[in-house]
């Protein structure tokens, strides 16, 4: 429940719409209750003309108010949900710059979509009827109390039981079931996504039957969890219905005392009808509370590196210098760097050589402020990285990694990620530099061609070159190219380096590679070994 309150706090800037929805909802409820009370009075008093006139007005008013309530409350909820989505993405971006790490992409999606949608019921099906129930308690007590005080106590007690206690206990009971449901849904989604993303493996190993069996087992688990929740909801609903009927029974039994109680019976019918959905909503609220906790947990992960409180002014120069850097990813892992010292003057082209696992990518992570050294300093233009905003550092450094993502979007949109204001000429120049311009030009839709998932529709080498074009398009004065030619044939690789020598003139190039082709024009070559860099012949 605490998580739900935190989510509600996120929605404070939507308070106007949310409160407006609640007020209209109460107004609609008030007309409904008034109408029923008048109908009852009409019958009890055998036709009062003023009441009849009021009925003629109340009927249409109620219809209009109900329509307005539905529109405003739904609109308010959707606004709040959209806010939540964006907030979630921001939180995730803040906490996982180094990639999704241990989180499952499929699982995160499942959380995002299902959990956030589970939260939309909180306002519509819980908060609004609860507000209505709070409004109805004094109305019921006053109207029935006029005829009989003990009767008012009985009816209000039954009402409170149905409107407050049942939903609350349903919510707490459901908390566990809701977690199970979400876990089952997430497990099913991961298996289905694994199977579909791995269709090649599945086909190559003839695993269709096995995967289907696994999916069906997970589906059965999901259905069982849903059945459990549905049963709880049905029971809670039935109990609430019986509460309403019991209240009516009490009123009917007392009708001999005072015919005015007939009007109260009609009022009770309307009141119980208004909160009839609440116990069921309690089940959904339990579910939503679990969802809220997961949403918060995913978005509130610890940030990779907090920015300094008072960042230093962006340095003027772009020389990069590592000074006695010691670094390990985790306390129980070996040191990647033990006293790394490396000087990369502005505009220099250097290569870093070494086998995989020696820390070439870690070096990029340190330079990009994805991680910070345990001791030693990294200086950009003479200013310690620790005193700079990550955004400032990242605007200076373009990074092409093994894991750089090609988005399911147009070629244009993929390129513009690096420089949103680039014009078509700049895009074509970058594509030419990455040796892919001719291929793109030959496509019927050119720059507007859609790139499929992880670049499918293009061969591995072509996808790689698109990503490379994006990196070259960025205006960062420092480029870190991590195996830029992996997946390219030797001929294209040589051609690429020839172009790079021209197109990246004046920029610092840090080439991370396991071998050199001879076509690179380099100022220095460093070899990484034993956590240090040593100059290699070149």
């Amino acid at each position: 429940m605490k998580a739900l309150l935190q989510i509600a706090w996120l929605w404070r800037c939507r308070a106007f719409w949310l409160v407006a929805g609640a007020l209209i909802s109460i107004a609609a409820l008030a007309t409904a209750v008034w109408m029923m009370t008048l109908s009852g009075a009409l019958i009890a008093a055998a036709g009062v003309l003023t009441g009849a006139a009021a009925l003629r007005v109340l009927g249409p008013a109620r219809v209009v108010l109900r329509y307005a309530e539905r529109l405003v409350s739904h609109d308010a909820m959707f606004r709040a949900i959209a806010d939540l989505r964006v907030w979630f993405f921001r939180g995730l971006a803040h906490s996982s710059a180094g990639g999704l790490g241990f989180r499952r992409a499929g699982d995160v999606l499942s959380r995002l979509v299902n959990d956030i949608e589970a939260l939309d019921g909180v306002y519509l099906r819980v908060a609004l009827p609860l507000a209505g129930a709070v409004f109805l308690v004094p109305v019921l007590f006053w109207q029935i109390g006029k005829a009989s005080l003990p009767l008012a106590f009985v009816v209000v007690a039954l009402f409170a039981f149905a409107a407050f206690w049942l939903p609350w206990s349903a919510a707490t009971l459901t908390l566990g079931a809701g977690e199970r449901l979400a876990a089952a849904a997430s497990a099913l989604r991961v298996t289905v996504h694994d199977t579909l993303a791995g269709l090649r493996e599945v086909r190559a190993f003839g695993a269709e039957g096995r995967q289907l069996a696994t999916i069906q087992a997970r589906e059965a688990a999901l259905l069982a969890a849903q059945h459990d929740l549905a049963t709880r909801a049905a029971r809670a609903g039935a109990l609430a219905f019986l509460c309403g009927q019991a209240a009516l029974l009490a009123l009917f039994a007392a009708i001999g005392l005072d015919p005015a109680i007939a009007a109260a019976a009609f009022l009770a019918v309307a009141a119980f009808e208004a909160v009839g959905g609440l116990p069921r909503a309690g089940v959904a609220a339990g579910h939503a509370a679990a969802a809220a906790r997961r949403v918060l947990e995913a978005a509130n992960g610890p940030p990779m590196l907090p920015d300094p409180d008072q960042p230093a002014a962006p340095p003027r120069g772009n020389a990069l210098r590592f000074e006695g850097v010691h670094f390990r990813w985790q306390d129980d892992r070996a040191e990647v760097f033990s006293g790394l010292t490396l000087d990369i003057p502005s505009g220099n082209r250097i290569a870093l050589l070494g086998p995989s696992g020696i820390g070439k990518s870690t070096l990029a992570a340190l330079a990009l402020k994805v991680a910070a050294p345990q001791s030693g300093r990294i200086l950009l233009g003479g200013t310690d990285l620790a005193t700079l905003d990550a955004a400032v550092v990242r605007a200076r450094i373009g990074w092409l990694a093994q894991s750089t993502h090609l988005f399911a979007d147009t070629i244009r949109a993929n390129l513009l990620l690096a420089r949103p204001d680039a014009d078509d000429d700049a895009l074509w120049a970058a594509l030419a530099a990455a040796r892919i311009a001719d291929t793109v030009r030959a496509l019927p839709e050119g720059l507007d061609t859609w790139v499929g998932e992880a670049g499918s529709g293009f061969s591995g080498g072509q996808g790689r070159r698109l990503v490379l074009a994006r990196t070259l398009l960025s205006q960062a004065p420092i480029l870190i190219l991590d195996e830029p030619c992996a997946g390219l044939d030797a001929e294209t690789e040589r051609a690429f380096f020839t172009t790079l020598n021209e197109s990246a003139a004046g920029r610092t190039i840090i080439l991370i590679a396991h071998r050199l082709t001879g076509a690179e024009r380099l100022d220095r070559i460093w070899r990484l070994s034993d956590g240090r860099a040593s100059a290699a012949a070149g």
């Binding site: 109408m35 019958i43 055998a46 036709g47 109620r62 209009v64 329509y67 539905r70 609109d75 959707f78 606004r79 959209a82 964006v86 993405f89 921001r90 971006a93 180094g98 999704l100 790490g101 992409a105 499929g106 995160v108 991961v190 996504h193 694994d194 199977t195 993303a197 269709l199 090649r200 493996e201 190559a204 190993f205 096995r210 289907l212 849903q226 549905a230 049963t231 049905a234 039935a238 219905f241 009927q245 029974l249 009917f252 039994a253 009708i255 001999g256 995989s356 955004a391 993502h405 988005f407 990620l417 949103p420 496509l443 499929g452 499918s456 061969s459 591995g460 080498g461 997946g487 396991h514």
Partner: protein
């Protein structure tokens, strides 16, 4: 557009036929519950009439009212169970059907569709049809039967009141039909928007590191925000119309109640009302008359959700016809000779041919290296041999048998494959290796792990071979992942080995080690290696140079 609507209608009709039996118990419970409600109304009317007439306490009708309430609650519970069951049965059936079709279509699907979109189809779209079977179909029957039964009762008691109910009741489907037309159109757009948003989220979350390091997180968050806002606007457009039909229902119910109340009010004033009990009974039946219509209106949304889902489900590739039994061949499992005969293939006509009249032969036990720049057609050759795609013309034979006449299971039995980047499933290392041959015992899996030198790094992992890897598990390096692919191929022990640039993403030391393992794996098998790596020269074998989908040169070997 028109065709798709016809297809959707046909789909709905077919589904309705299939689900009729499942809906029956829900309808039966609904009818029983409605009868109990009528009885309760009658008891209540009797109690009220007696009380208002000052005759005091009426024990029998009170008892009847209590019993009717219990019966109503009981049937309500039963009805919900039956409704859940009906939806679950239908979802299970649709999901296994969708998966069968996707699995049969195979990896070629991934060229045109995002696996996130396909996952959404299999999970969310099918979840969305639940209401069609559990709620809409029974509610559609009850919406006719319920009001008709109540109107009949009223007709016997007071024909004028029955007329009022009939006229106001008929307004409801009329208004629904009017608003339903607009709502159906809007619903289609809304679902397209929802699917787009979801695919976009998955893709952006997968690439979140790229976005963050490019400093575009804020811009992308705003784009996602406007996408979510667009979704809100689309959804509201649907709801604005959908709520209109609810408003029509509210209006009809209020009109009926007010008209009947006024009628009895004036009758009472004139002193011509013969029987107060009847008047009360009729008044109390008014909500009962509209209740099934209300449930139907609520369930109408479910039908629209189902229509949105139907379009995605219809778009799935149809199940291919099973290969004719007579032509299914068995190919001798050892010593496979592969022949390409004038094979042509194009993935996309606008991009030209990927393979253009390619012919070559690989003898049993021979290793052939396919060389050529990226995009020259090496992968296409491999994908044809894996059965991922069939050639447009020409044919491929295994020991003289046309590959196309082999059932997929036989095709995959013959070949082991190592691609550029293996997909690791969420699970343990051991499970990922055993994926190649599920019946393999632990000793065989450990043998394979040793062969592929997995034990070298697995021992350092927290739980050895039982460490969780894959999407969400322990991150493996490219070389380590490729070793799992090698272990899979070793465990599978197929006569044909297909290697598609297996060392592209590895550094030279790792590449040399992986090639070393691969060389041992090639012994006694027919091997096709697609690679431009210079280290591939280490492989003894004939070399075929591919250029623009044609064989440019053939060197070395026999």
């Amino acid at each position: 557009m028109h065709d798709s609507r016809i297809a959707t209608r046909a789909w709905l009709r077919a589904q309705t036929r299939l689900a009729r039996r499942g809906a029956l118990p829900v309808v039966a419970c609904g009818v029983a519950s409605a009868l109990a409600a009528v009885a309760a109304a009658w008891c209540a009317a009797a109690v009220l009439a007696q009380g208002l007439a000052g005759k005091g306490f009426a024990p029998l009708p009170l008892l009847g009212f209590a019993v009717a309430a219990l019966v109503q609650a009981g049937f309500g519970l039963l009805s919900e169970q039956a409704s859940f069951e009906a939806g679950a049965v239908a979802r299970r059936r649709l999901r296994s059907d969708a998966l069968a079709r996707l699995l049969a279509a195979g990896p070629a699907m991934l060229r045109g569709s995002h696996s996130g979109t396909l996952t959404a189809t299999v999970i969310d779209r099918i979840e969305a049809v639940d209401g069609l079977f559990g709620r809409y179909l029974p509610a559609a029957v009850l919406a006719m039967a319920g009001p008709a039964a109540v109107a009949l009762v009223v007709l016997v008691l007071d024909p004028v009141a029955a007329l009022i109910l009939g006229v106001t009741g008929l307004l409801v489907p009329f208004a629904m039909a009017l608003s339903g037309i607009g709502a159906a159109l809007a619903a289609r757009q809304q679902f397209a928007a929802m699917a787009r948003l979801q695919a976009r989220f998955l893709d952006r979350i997968k690439g979140i590191a790229t976005i963050v390091l490019a400093g575009r997180a804020e811009a992308e968050a705003q784009t996602l925000g406007s996408a979510a806002d667009e979704l809100r606007r689309r959804t509201m457009r649907v709801l604005r119309v959908a709520f209109l039909s609810s408003a029509a229902l509210d209006l009809a119910a209020a009109a009926a109640l007010v008209l009947i109340a006024l009628r009895y009010g004036s009758l009472m004033r004139d002193g011509t009302l013969a029987d107060a009990e009847t008047a009360l009974f009729v008044l109390l039946l008014v909500p009962q008359f509209f209740a099934p219509l209300r449930s139907f209106a609520a369930a109408y949304q479910d039908r629209m959700h189902a229509i949105g889902a139907a379009e995605a489900l219809i778009e799935l590739p149809p199940l291919p016809p099973p290969p004719p039994v007579l032509e299914v061949r068995n190919v001798a499992a050892h010593g496979v000779t592969i022949d390409f005969e004038h094979v042509c293939l194009s993935w996309d006509p606008s991009r030209g041919r990927a393979l253009d009249d390619v012919s070559f032969r690989v003898n049993a036990g021979e290793t052939v290296i396919l060389a050529g720049p990226s995009g020259s057609g090496k992968s296409s050759v491999i994908e044809i041999l894996l059965g991922f795609i069939a050639p447009d013309s020409g044919r491929v034979t295994f020991n003289g048998a046309d590959f196309a006449t082999l059932v997929p299971a036989a095709q995959s039995r013959l070949t082991a494959w190592i691609g550029q980047r293996p997909v690791l499933f969420a699970g343990t290392l051991r499970e990922n290796i055993r994926f190649a041959r599920p019946e393999a015992n632990d000793a065989a899996v450990e043998d394979a792990a040793r062969f592929a030198r997995i034990d070298g790094f697995a021992d350092a992992l927290p739980h050895g071979l039982d460490t969780l890897i894959g999407d969400g598990g322990f991150g493996l390096s490219g070389g380590q992942a490729q070793r799992i692919a090698i272990a899979r191929a070793f465990l599978k022990d197929a006569p044909v080995l297909l290697l598609d640039e297996p060392t592209t993403h590895l550094d030279p030391t790792t590449e040399a080690e992986v090639f070393e393992s691969l060389k041992r794996l090639t012994i006694g098998r027919t091997v096709i290696l697609a690679s431009h790596a210079t280290a591939a020269h280490a492989f003894a074998g004939r070399r075929l140079d591919l250029r623009h989908g044609r064989i440019a040169a053939s060197r070395g070997g026999a």
